[in-house]
């Protein structure tokens, strides 16, 4: 029986197998636009898949999106799947999406921490980290958003393997992180890097490891303001925005600090819903509204990236 993307329920949470199967149907449904790349393997040998949205060309400038690097943040993987479908559906329909894809590629990694995600379904719903073993400790896993080579190991991450914010033995020690680093570096033409987390309702930009303002702070702040206005226009969801350091707390070794230091000016990280009632157990009924409002902000960032080449 031919599988069809139309039977996938975006309003429900799914396991990794269901999402990976659905990715194949998305590729099958949009063969001229969507392809699936494997960029590496996780610690437990699960495939790290990236969806590539491209209308052609060679090594076009591109936008990177990832969801689910903290595995328990289920709203992000769900938003990733919805967003992938939206990009595919809107090409040729929505002028701004069409304009972006006519000039640029989009890469989307929906499950950036597959071992952790599988573990949240099988053993511990609250698992955040990777599943790598730490020598000399009974505690498992590294926080994959403290493992990047940007202020690695300074204040804002823990050296304790039992901590939820353990930075790992060295930068890029986690294959899930290294795979993205290698992919982005090998590509060499990524212009925006957007990492999606939950929850706190924030749109943040570098830096997290230092209070020093990013050289492009003014522009990043302006984009954030517009993106948040677009997001809030749908359901009135209240978002704050600013640098990671000044808006929340010092966090070292994070992905967007790394991407920004690689020269990817438009580096942002989202913290999607909750409103403070459910945390990581956000009811499935909120998946679609969350994804819809996030999409509006993503479009602002993507459009700005298209219109401001550098």
């Amino acid at each position: 029986t031919k599988r069809s993307g139309s039977t996938f329920n975006f309003a429900s949470y799914h396991t990794i197998d269901e999402i990976y199967d659905w990715m194949d149907t998305l590729v099958a449904d949009h063969p001229d636009l969507v392809s699936k790349l494997q960029i590496g393997q996780s610690y437990e040998n699960r495939s790290l898949y990236v969806l590539k949205f491209s209308t052609g060309g060679s090594n076009r400038s591109a936008i990177w999106l990832d969801t689910g690097i903290h595995s328990r943040e289920w709203i992000t993987q769900a938003t990733g799947a919805w967003t992938a479908n939206k990009i595919a559906e809107e090409y040729g329909q929505d002028p701004s999406v069409t304009a972006v894809l006519d000039s640029m590629d989009i890469f989307l990694e929906i499950i950036a921490n597959p071992d952790g995600f599988a573990y949240t379904h099988s053993s511990n719903r609250m698992w955040r980290k990777t599943r790598s073993r730490n020598s000399g400790s009974l505690c498992v896993g590294v926080d994959p958003n403290r493992n990047w080579n940007a202020g690695f190991g300074v204040a804002g991450a823990s050296r304790n393997p039992c901590s939820e914010t353990y930075h790992g033995p060295y930068a890029n020690s986690e294959p899930e992180v290294k795979a993205i680093v290698d992919f982005v570096n090998n590509h060499g033409n990524i212009k925006a890097f957007i990492s999606i987390h939950s929850y706190s309702q924030l749109l943040l930009y570098p830096y997290g490891y230092t209070r020093t303002p990013a050289p492009d702070q003014r522009e990043l702040h302006e984009i954030s303001k517009k993106a948040v206005a677009a997001l809030s226009s749908l359901y009135g969801t209240s978002y704050q925005y600013g640098s990671i350091y000044t808006t929340i707390y010092q966090a070292s070794g994070s992905s967007v600090d790394w991407s920004y230091n690689q020269g990817i000016k438009y580096s942002f990280t989202f913290e999607l819903r909750d409103t403070g009632r459910y945390g990581f157990l956000l009811p499935a009924s909120q998946i679609i509204p969350t994804a819809q409002e996030t999409w509006l902000a993503l479009k602002v960032i993507m459009q700005h990236t298209l219109n401001h080449p550098y």
Partner: protein
């Protein structure tokens, strides 16, 4: 499978930097096995802390004795996890 029966998630609002430092120190006390869902950031900014049932009394005492205000955001975590499981099973059927 890890169960969360009786675990609570507390929404904590520190009113000064001293209280924030105290909350951060909680994170490193491995015997309590608490888990910040939302880390303490700045005074007035809420932090959310999952506290395993056996540590509840100790954590609440510490908060109260230091005048740190909190409310119970999730009364019994396992109940919510069970509801989520049910909700996932429905569309699968």
């Amino acid at each position: 499978e890890q169960l969360f029966v009786g675990d609570q998630v507390l929404r904590i609002t520190a009113s000064n930097e001293e209280q924030i430092a105290l909350l951060r120190a909680l994170d490193e006390q491995t015997e309590l096995q608490v888990d910040f869902w939302r880390h303490p950031a700045s005074p007035g900014h809420p932090a959310d802390l999952r506290v395993p049932f056996p540590s509840l009394q100790a954590v609440k005492t510490l908060l109260e004795s230091n005048g740190i205000s909190y409310s119970i955001m999730i009364q019994d975590l396992q109940k919510l996890v069970d509801e989520e499981k049910k909700a996932m099973a429905k569309p699968s059927k």
